[in-house]
Symmetry: C2
Subunit: 114 residues, 2 copies
DNA sequence: ACATCATACAACCTTATGGTTGTACCATGC
DNA sequence: GCATGGTACAACCATAAGGTTGTATGATGT
């Protein structure tokens, strides 16, 4: 068995909901169970449980049994995977800027096509 | 008029689609119009145009008229806004780790409750 | 063993999303 | 002025997403 390749559709999809982002934030401390998380939101327990499941499938949180609760903890590595993709876009952008300035630097007046 | 506050639902929602992420990547060079972008994907022009509109409303690309085309360009600042949110989660996580190690450092054996 | 707390999951409803086709709107070149 | 290239948008369709209630499973404390 292998570790799953990052599923960016799921990752960003999971982050595209205010409630889920708030769960990610709260679960950083990794001390609340699903019911405790649910108490913060104006929706049913089942709805919050679904949100947690979505975050879990996206690799953004993990659940661990403690006593009769299941404690939800944010998976920082998952967040980093998402961040790295954004970083890659930024790198591509820098690369383009570099090529542009290089073009400007090598083109002007005499030194064309060195 | 004010600049709009970041709408993370829209931002991450826009990034939660493979085609749109690919458009973001392609539009970094900022040289293709909507029709040219559309030619890369196995779907109708209208579908791609919708994707571009979604990216635009999310603040991830801008459109600029050049001749009869409208050239699509990735808005790097938009990407940075999304990235910063992920960074904030990471900071919160570090803060928690710091508090934990501090707790471990001040608690052990004799020096309890100094 | 049993009542109970915490979680999981199925069935259902409503609205959003991603795709389609068709039509209307602007610039450009002749 | 008019054909055309490029874009925008409306109407529609199928499926996914976010919510609900209800029921089933699992671990704890007495």
């Amino acid at each position: 068995m292998q570790i799953a390749p990052p599923d960016f559709d799921r990752m960003f999809g999971a982050l595209a909901d205010h409630t889920r982002r708030d769960i990610v934030r709260r679960a950083i401390d990794g001390r609340e169970g699903v019911a405790e998380l649910a108490s913060h939101y104006p929706m049913s327990f089942a709805a919050v449980q679904k949100h947690v499941a979505i975050l879990e499938r996206a690799g953004l949180v993990t659940k661990r049994r403690i006593g009769r609760r299941k404690v939800v903890r944010t998976n920082v590595e998952g967040l980093r995977v998402a961040r790295r993709l954004l970083d890659q876009y930024e790198e591509l952008w820098r690369g383009r800027i570099d090529r542009m300035t290089e073009l400007v630097a090598t083109t002007p007046s005499e030194e064309t096509d060195r």
